[in-house]
């Protein structure tokens, strides 16, 4: 009893789709190849239309009734002859419902035999179809006899009228939420416009074609429609009438206001669903609306730049006015600033903790950093002027480094920790700031020792539970130094394969451990440095613009990309 048809934006679209799907179907013996000739401009003037008056009067809502009445006026304005029709009193709704249920019970019989009927989400369907299996055959036959009478009645009716017109439903379309709240039977009952089932049941029982088109909207923006029912195989006729009606207004051009999902609306949804509390909503929405904007990083960055600029200026002044100022003034000034800085830090510091500590205030970390830099300047000045350590001058670096480590741990300051690590590198003879892979031959072993030492200290302190948040700083610096030293070894003439093995081993460790601990910077180090080292070795005696070298770069690059994509797909945007 189901009637299959297209659901489209316009009547013309429906005609196109219908033309495509109509016709005989070897898998459906009930389908026939009837002719279909739709013409949007064929004349309709003077055609007689039956208005199912009962159904137009059933809606209790005055707004709905007005919309439907207006629709009839539009139809009259198209030159159609409207006549009121009252359908004969047949049990349209009962016949339609039970016949459909019996059909469904038949089609879905495997659900009973397999016991899966209980798994239907819509329990009402399961009940209806189960009940339909118990319907006596005599009752079913009686229904079909009445149905034949109805079809005969419909044939007579459509000899008089080109189409019947009725409201699609007695009420505006329901909201999705409301439909979900009721079962299908209740929802269907809400749309029945009169006691015997109305036009929809009449159309179902007789199998006559029908088309519903929008005919207006309520003040709440919910649509209403009217349905055109036509004689058997006259789809083209009712499409033509529906098209004429559609063109006489613009209801079909209106569409629901597109729901724009914004951050704030999503937050509101979460609040309403209880996913976040009202306080959380307030705090987050404040940030989204920019009602609260943190300048924490900007202030810190400016303070850091201020300290660097100040120390650079101090060093420049000393260098320029060395002879004018004199040792006493310079050393007194530096010592005074140094003492002020450190005394400020010691007086304001919170008690030591092996865990992460918040700074007492914004300036605290930078005053400490300033003190450390001034200390370095003062030592440099002392050595330059008085040559206290002479050839042993590099012990200043070791001493400074130890002091900076102590201060970094005491005051939980990562800037000072970085200073300590770079100063220690200086003691090893390395300059971290110099972007060059070619460490001198004599320095390479020191660079390797430094890298291993720094990494070991970082890991050991992490295992001891001391300032675990410092570990990454150690590992970043150690990784870059080690990779740089190994690459410089590959470039060098002596035992490059040994360095290459070491580099690949380290790259492997960085990649695997980076993935393991979700620290993708180390994965990037492993891939990049490993590739650079290997390529440097393999392309050693090949011109970079040669076919071989370029082919190598393409193929090897693709391999790297493929493996990185696999990684990226596995971890998504996880940082």
């Amino acid at each position: 009893m189901d009637k299959i048809g297209p659901l489209c934006r316009t009547v013309e679209d429906c005609a196109w789709v219908f033309d495509a799907i109509r016709g005989a179907d070897p898998l459906d013996l009930a389908a026939v190849d009837a002719p279909f000739r739709f013409s949007a401009h064929s004349p309709i003037n003077g055609k007689k239309i039956g208005i199912l008056r009962n159904e137009f009067e059933t809606p209790s809502d005055a707004e709905v009734r007005k919309i439907l009445a207006d629709a009839l006026k539009v139809l009259a304005g198209l030159g159609l002859i409207l006549e009121e029709v009252y359908l004969d009193d047949f049990p349209y709704q009962d016949i339609a419902r039970y016949t459909i249920n019996v059909e469904a019970a038949c089609v879905f019989e495997p659900l009973w035999t397999s016991g899966k009927i209980d798994r239907l989400i819509n329990k009402q369907r399961a009940i209806d179809w189960s009940a339909a299996r118990l319907l006596p055959a005599t009752d079913y036959l009686k229904m079909q006899r009445v149905r034949a009478e109805i079809c005969d009645y419909a044939s007579r009716l459509f000899k008089k009228y080109a189409a019947l017109v009725a409201p699609s439903t007695a009420a505006p379309a329901a909201l999705v939420e409301e439909l979900a709240a009721v079962n299908s039977v209740a929802a269907a009952a809400a749309t029945i416009v009169n006691g015997n089932g109305g036009s929809s049941a009449f159309g179902n029982v007789t199998g006559m074609p029908a088309i519903s088109v929008p005919c207006g909207f309520t003040a709440a923006g919910l649509p209403l429609g009217i349905v055109f029912l036509g004689p058997a195989f006259d789809e083209a006729g009712i499409l033509r009438l529906a098209y004429a009606y559609e063109q006489a207004n613009h209801w079909h051009e209106r569409h629901p206001k597109l729901y724009r999902m914004t951050i704030l609306t999503r937050l509101e949804q979460w609040k309403e669903s209880g996913a976040i509390t009202s306080m959380q909503f307030d705090a987050i929405s404040e940030l989204v609306r920019k009602d609260r904007f943190s300048v924490f990083f900007e202030l810190n960055a400016l303070f850091y730049l201020g300290v660097l600029s100040f120390v650079a200026g101090v060093a420049w002044v000393i260098q320029t006015y060395l002879s004018t100022l004199g040792d006493t003034a310079i050393l007194s000034g530096l010592t005074l600033l140094l003492c002020l800085s450190f005394s400020y830090c010691f007086s304001r510091a919170l008690p030591y903790s092996p865990g992460q500590m918040e700074s007492p205030n914004l300036a605290f970390d930078y005053v400490l950093y300033l003190g450390c830099l001034l200390f370095a300047v003062e030592l440099a000045y002392l050595e330059t002027r008085f040559h206290l350590m002479q050839s042993e001058w590099d012990y200043y670096l070791l001493f400074s480094s130890v002091l900076f480590f102590g201060l970094a741990y005491r005051f939980d300051n990562r800037f000072v920790l970085s200073l300590a690590l770079s100063t220690l590198a200086g003691w090893f003879g390395l300059r971290i700031s110099r972007f060059a892979f070619s460490y001198g031959e004599s320095l390479r072993p020191y660079a390797l020792v430094y890298g291993v030492l720094v990494a070991s200290i970082g890991i050991w302190l992490h295992r001891c539970g001391i300032k675990k948040h410092f570990t990454e700083t150690y590992l970043h610096i150690a990784s870059n130094v080690l990779f740089g030293a190994l690459i410089s070894g590959i470039i060098a003439r002596e035992s490059p394969w040994l360095y290459l093995m070491g580099l690949l081993g380290l790259a492997g460790i960085a990649t695997v451990e980076g993935i393991r601990f979700r620290r993708f910077a180390f994965v990037a180090y492993g891939v990049l440095y490993g590739y650079i080292g290997m390529s440097v070795r393999l392309l050693r005696n090949v011109r970079i613009d040669s076919t071989a070298a370029l082919s190598y770069l393409i193929v090897s690059g693709m391999l790297v990309i493929l493996s990185t994509i696999l990684l990226a797909r596995r971890f998504g945007s996880e940082e």
Partner: protein
């Protein structure tokens, strides 16, 4: 702001069907895709021995179009979003099309002198970068478009004043248009991105009007006319430098930060006009951690090993000192 259990639940609701990755792998993918693109184009040129400019232009032009098509395919079909690979294709497409345009312009120019190829390259670069920004929303493409467009007047035979005026007008237009868009999308995407572009345009405006900072030196009414557009630096840049300048700048920065922080903190709920000095997001700390680790690059200068001056060698006085010598 959220409990970890909440965070996991909400994150699950925010899953989209885009392929994304973290910034580190994105960087790796970008670099290697760029490497492959460059190697592929160079290989084509090498294999087919394309030393003719027109052939070179055709090759790079076709390659640019091809990479743009690949970019489109990767984004629309494979749903890549800030994945590195497609971004490298975007950059490659813009660069190759510019190179192609420059090569064609060079052949058309013949032996005539002038900046025609550079002009064409910048025009194509600006257009293609802008197109990429409009289509894919890469903010750096908008920067590139601005920079290329800003370079165009400098390739034309115009007076320096007119060149700078044109660039300033263009940047002002960008500022006004994008800022109005930003106001329309204040709290929603891409509001923040719209915030970056006018800020860059403003910085560019400062640069191009501040004749002391940019290349060339022009004096006269135009220079003084730009004075109203600029703040602290131009008068300073006109003065002679002093060694204590960095000290003053440092003190100024530190004092400004402390004053600003105190002023903001004393506002209701530790904020004024919406600005707060308090850290709100973990991301701010991560950024600071990155800066502090990178600060290891600022290794303090150490005194070079110097040998102590030897004892003065007076070699024995001959003209006084009662015969005093060095040993004395």
């Amino acid at each position: 702001m959220l409990e970890s259990s909440q965070s996991a639940r909400l994150e699950a609701e925010l899953q989209v069907d885009l392929r994304r990755t973290n910034n580190f792998l994105r960087g790796v993918l970008f670099l290697f895709t760029g490497l492959i693109v460059a190697a592929s184009v160079l290989l084509t040129i090498t294999v087919f021995d394309l030393d003719d400019e027109l052939l070179l232009a055709t090759t790079t032009g076709i390659a640019g179009i091809l990479f743009f098509a690949l970019l489109e395919c990767l984004v629309s079909r494979f749903r890549l979003y800030r994945f590195g690979v497609e971004e490298a294709f975007a950059v490659a497409a813009a660069v190759l099309l510019s190179v192609s345009g420059a090569a064609i312009a060079s052949t058309l120019r013949g032996n005539r002198p002038g900046e025609f190829p550079a002009l064409v390259a910048l025009c194509i670069g600006a257009l293609s970068a802008f197109g990429i920004y409009r289509r894919f929303g890469y903010v750096y493409a908008a920067f590139a478009a601005m920079i290329c467009a800003a370079g165009i007047p400098f390739q034309m035979a115009l007076s320096a004043e007119v060149q700078r005026f044109l660039v300033a007008a263009m940047l002002t237009l960008v500022f006004v248009v994008v800022r109005s868009k930003r106001l329309q999308n204040a709290s929603e995407h891409p509001g923040d991105e719209y915030g970056i572009i006018p800020a860059s345009a403003w910085a560019g405006l400062y640069f191009v009007l501040n004749l002391q900072m940019s290349f060339g030196r022009i004096e006269g009414w135009f220079y003084w006319g730009t004075y109203v557009m600029i703040w602290f630096l131009p008068p300073y840049l006109g003065l002679s430098r002093q060694p204590w300048d960095p000290i003053l700048l440092g003190i100024f920065l530190m004092a400004a930060v402390i004053t600003l922080r105190r002023w903001l903190s004393k506002g209701p709920d530790s904020r004024r006009y919406g600005f707060t000095p308090v850290r709100l997001l973990t991301g701010d700390s991560r950024l600071l951690t990155f800066v502090s680790t990178a600060s290891a690059a600022f290794q303090p200068e150490v005194p070079a090993p110097t040998s102590a001056p030897g004892k003065p060698d007076f070699s024995g006085g001959r003209s006084g000192g009662a015969g005093a010598s060095g040993s004395f």
